[in-house]
Amino acid sequence: MKQVTVKIIDPVGLHARPATVAVNAASKCKSDVNVAFKGREVNMKSIMGVMSLGIPTQAEVVISATGEDEEQAIAAIEEVLRAQKIIE
């Protein structure tokens, strides 16, 4: 497993379009990808899962990937979220 802690800077948090962008990025990976916030962890490929976490702006969340492409998965997800100004 590979993991990274990121800070959400999008003003609406990980809701709405930012959440959908995150799910889209995660969905492209072969690895299982999870996102954890305040002790709850959900499948990052699930829109309703990610939205149910209610992640606000400035929150720190942990993204983890497990699988053959875990290394690249984390890097790719970070890159997309950063390009979309969702994380720092």
Partner: protein, 290 residues
């Protein structure tokens, strides 16, 4: 033509059905639907109903003929009979907008805002603060929503031992609302509290009142249930509710996806309530949304 058909058949196809008149008010929901559809590589067939050009019956016929895999319906588009036809063909569908009050089965999902509770809670607070001079402006484009708002207000009045008589009905659109209130304020005072469903109605009552010498929030409080960026651009800025519309669209399409793959008898939740939060701006008094 056959090759073309075969190519098409590989992909899941979803029909989105909405009334043309509501399109301008539902672009965020549509964006949420489209983004999630794209993630699942769905093809989207888009249908609008439009008076004098295409009726809901034609749209239903075209949906059944083209055998789409699922349907997203915006509320206020269809009658119970029309829903019945879609039911018979067992097409999974999600109704988005207000709470769907027709017959439900495992083929029907609903992603909704509880407008009745929103209106009830607001009016209960107002009555507690001594305000019972309340107007609800009819919005003919959204009659399901109106019905639910009215029900919530009536219940709050009833619980306070009062009777609600402030439902007003005139034409639709800003021009007719504005003309109505310009005339009305010649020999009437505005209600202490004015509730509209859409931005243009709220702006209409504010402009007409201001031009008749009444100012918000002192003389009249104003709330638009649906938020829009324009409420922040007018002066004074009009209070409203934050309803996560993009999320409603995204969740609706995701729910439909689940319905397409899941076992019919699985007891999953197909009714998802979306939360709302007030956005106090300049047209409501400080004590209302504390």
């Amino acid at each position: 033509a056959i090759a073309q058909g075969l190519a098409l058949s590989k992909t899941t196809t979803i029909s989105i059905v909405m009334s043309e008149k509501l399109l301008a008010y539902n672009t965020k929901i549509l964006n949420g639907l489209m983004d999630v559809a794209k993630i699942y590589n769905y093809n989207i067939m888009f249908h609008t109903t439009s008076k004098g050009i295409s009726k809901m019956q034609d749209v239903i016929e075209s949906i059944i003929k083209s055998r789409v895999d699922g349907v997203i319906l915006f509320n206020d588009n269809f009658t119970e009979d029309e829903m019945e036809v879609l039911h018979e063909y067992q097409i999974p569908m999600v109704v988005v907008g207000a709470r769907f009050e027709g017959k439900k089965d495992e083929n029907v999902g609903n992603v909704y805002v509880d407008f009745e509770r929103l209106a009830y809670d607001l009016v209960r607070d107002l009555i507690e603060q001594g305000v019972d001079d309340i107007t609800l402006m009819e919005d003919r484009l959204n009659l399901s929503m109106m019905k639910q708002l009215k029900k919530g207000i009536e219940k709050a009045f009833e619980d306070a031992g009062k009777n609600f008589e402030g439902y007003i009905s005139y034409g639709d659109g800003y021009k007719s609302s504005y003309a109505f209130f310009k005339d009305y304020f010649k020999d009437h005072k505005p209600a202490k509290f004015n509730m509209a469903f859409r931005d243009s109605q709220a702006i209409a009552v504010m402009n007409a009142a201001a031009e008749a010498g009444f100012h918000s929030p002192e003389d009249l409080q104003i709330v638009s249930v649906l938020d829009s960026k324009y409420l922040n651009m007018v002066r004074p800025r009009i209070s409203s509710y934050n309803i996560p519309e993009y999320d409603m669209g995204a969740i609706s399409m995701r729910l439909l996806t689940k319905m397409l793959v899941s076992d019919r008898d699985q007891d999953e939740n197909r009714n998802i309530e979306i939360s709302y939060t007030p956005i106090p701006r300049d047209t409501t008094k400080e004590e209302l949304f504390y």
